[in-house]
């Protein structure tokens, strides 16, 4: 059986856990519960078993723990479309990823697309394009582009 390890990374509270839960269990909760350490879930896309590492976000207390990334086949970079700082921080986060595991296939989720106060413009996402990352406006709440996000990553991994 084909298996792939995927890591969800990004600032805290951008929706990494929510996207994972929507994808794996098709559930969503408004309540915010900080992820501590890492939670590992599995799901299938066709015959491929995805082992999804929902990693604690980067926050004021701690950087991302890069040990979790070891052996990953692909990365989902997640940011929150209503908080510009989480888009800016992607650059630093990517640096950490690259140092530890090199350049692996990556996609970007601009999450919370269902919310009104969306603050993203082309200038901010230009970096994603430079990197050649497929970018998706997602909503863990409404399910928009969630499946497409993971499918795109799997096909990038090949």
């Amino acid at each position: 059986m084909l298996k792939k390890k995927i890591c969800m990374v990004g600032d805290f509270s951008v929706g990494k856990t929510s996207l994972t839960q929507k994808f794996v269990n098709n559930v969503f909760s408004e309540k915010y519960l900080t992820t501590i350490g890492v939670k590992i879930d599995t799901a299938f896309i066709n015959d491929t078993k995805l082992i999804v590492w929902d990693v604690a976000g980067r926050d004021s207390l701690s950087p991302i723990n890069a040990s979790y990334l070891v052996g990953a086949n692909g990365i989902v970079l997640v940011c929150d479309g209503t908080r510009q700082s989480t888009v800016r921080d992607i650059k630093d986060i990517w640096q950490v990823v690259k140092e530890r595991i090199g350049e692996v296939p990556t996609v970007v989720a601009l999450n919370k697309a269902d919310l009104e106060d969306w603050h993203i413009d082309a200038e901010q996402t230009a970096y994603f394009e430079e990197q050649g990352w497929q970018t998706f406006e997602t909503s863990a709440k409404e399910g928009q582009n969630v499946k497409a996000l993971f499918e795109a990553l799997v096909s990038e991994i090949g």
Partner: protein, 512 residues
């Protein structure tokens, strides 16, 4: 050996205390040994010979030679565990220990910290919004102040402009009244007529000021309309001349009027609109000219009327020429009194009449305003209206009007000319009268008690009564006229109505 036993005992206790579990894999990641308590963390099926990553998800992607600490991993049982990968020369040991106490503490701390940070972010955004809001408010405030300043100067301008003709009306009326009251009537009939003419002119002036005000409200809604009809052009110009002469006299400036046509000169144009424009333009010229002259020239050729108003006033700078047609502008910024509406409205009216208002000016030498509008000449001069065709003299007229002053006036003027007029003061009575008697013509107000003019029109239409009805209304709103016309009114006269207009319309109706 005792020592070995002790060591084993200690090891055993440590294992239990930390709830330590473990398994070992060979170089190809196959399980070669596993502790029994792995199941208490939910790791099942970890048996010798199994692929590590088939029974333990986190093992996928890892290898046997890399030392790695994976703190706070959520195990299948839901408990947080710490995982340590310890490579040896021939196999890899994976140690798993309970970290739930550490995780719980961390969870509390982290949750608080993150929620705090989110709050701070939110606050920063709110502060920014507050700042923009207060900036906008400040701007609004400035605009409001400006608007209220313009409003105030506008109101004082209105009251000033109205005062001039009102003063003249009151003064001349008083003169006539005194002349009538004094037993020994020294003033000649001719004087009285002159005085009354002055009253009439000033009333027309007042009316054109009111029209300016009303029109201003319509500028945006495209509701200003012009209604051309047969008119004596010379009379308009002479009236305007007599009306404004006192103003130029008061300022000791010359006022020349040059016409290339004689009275009467019948053309088709909207006389009250043309009058309004001329008063506006000449009023401005006289207002701004403190010495020298104001000149009005009018030329009628090939069915076009060319008008020029020129003055020797201070002129208008190029910069101000651009602004001058904006409403309120002069009232607010030149220190002269006035509504500042005249030019805006005049421009619009001229446009509707098929012309264009052109202003040229040289600073400190004067200003010229020109326009040219179609004014098709009529071959036959109209019959003087007072000479009513005798056959109409016996016409029976019904007047429906709830204002007694106006009703009395109309009854008086029509009776004087030989018509038989019956007066009722509401719509219902009008309808009753029309049912019980024959009338040749109805003159009816719109706003009346019990039944409005509209209601009466509707009833008549329903009953198939075809007596011609002319409506008198104070409303210049186009939709009101349209409504009345739809209900079959013969004509729609705007108050104050002139008796000559009433008779003209009536004759038209009676002829049919």
């Amino acid at each position: 050996m005792v020592e070995t036993n002790l060591q084993q005992h200690i090891n055993q206790q440590l294992f239990e205390k930390l709830e330590l579990a473990y398994f070992c894999v060979d170089q190809s990641m196959r399980v070669i040994d596993a502790s029994e308590n792995l199941e208490s963390y939910g790791y099942t099926g970890v048996i010798t010979g199994a692929n590590a990553d088939d029974c333990v998800d986190f093992m996928f992607g890892l290898d046997a030679h890399t030392e790695l600490d994976l703190p706070l991993v959520e195990s299948p049982s839901g408990k947080k565990v710490s995982v340590s990968l310890l490579p040896g020369s021939t196999f890899l040991t994976v140690l798993i220990s309970n970290a739930s106490v550490q995780a719980d503490q961390r969870q509390l701390l982290q949750q608080k910290a993150n929620e705090n940070e989110l709050l701070v972010e939110q606050q920063i955004i709110l502060m920014k919004q507050l700042e923009t809001a207060s900036e906008m408010l400040e701007q609004k405030n400035v605009q409001l102040e400006e608007a209220s300043r313009l409003q105030t100067s506008f109101l004082s301008g209105v009251s000033h402009e109205f005062r001039t003709p009102l003063t003249s009306i009151m003064g001349y009326t008083n003169l006539v009244k005194q002349a009538l009251e004094s037993a020994s009537d020294e003033s000649s009939e001719n004087d009285k007529v002159q005085h009354l003419r002055a009253v009439q002119r000033s009333s027309k002036h007042l009316l054109s000021l009111v029209e300016n005000l009303l029109d201003h409200g319509k500028l945006d809604s495209d509701e200003i309309v012009v209604r051309p009809k047969a008119t004596d052009l010379a009379e308009i110009f002479n009236d305007v001349k007599l009306l404004l002469k006192p103003l130029s006299d008061a300022k000791h400036i010359d006022f020349f009027v040059e016409l290339d046509f004689e009275q009467p000169m019948m053309v088709v144009t909207d006389d009250s609109r043309l009058r309004q424009c001329l008063i506006n333009l000449l009023g401005n010229a006289i207002k701004f000219t403190d010495s020298g002259s104001v000149r009005l020239t009018a030329v009628l050729s090939n069915d076009f009327l060319k008008v020029e108003v020129s003055d020797t006033g201070p002129g208008i700078s190029e910069e101000n020429l651009a602004k001058i047609k904006l409403p309120f502008w002069q009232a607010a910024d030149t220190g002269k009194t006035g509504t500042g509406l005249g030019l805006t409205i005049t421009e619009r009216i001229i446009e509707l009449m098929g012309g264009e208002l052109e202003i040229s000016s040289v600073l400190s030498s004067g200003t010229q305003v020109n326009f040219e509008i179609p004014a098709p000449q009529l071959n036959a001069t109209l019959e003087p209206i007072a000479a009513v065709a005798p056959s109409f003299k016996q016409a029976k007229i019904l007047l429906a009007e709830d204002d007694y002053d106006i009703a009395d006036l109309i009854v008086m003027m029509l009776s004087e000319r030989g018509y038989q007029v019956s007066h009722v003061d509401n719509g219902e009575l009008a309808l009753n009268a029309l049912e019980s008697q024959e009338f040749d013509f109805v003159l009816m107000d719109i706003h009346m008690p019990i039944m409005t003019g509209y209601d009466v029109l509707a009833e008549l239409q329903a009953k198939g009564n075809t007596t011609p009805v002319a409506i008198m209304s104070a409303s210049t709103v186009e939709s009101d006229r349209a409504k009345a016309e739809q209900l079959g009114c013969f004509d729609y006269l705007i108050k104050p109505v002139e008796i000559d207009d009433v008779i003209r319309v009536m004759n038209l109706a009676l002829e049919q």
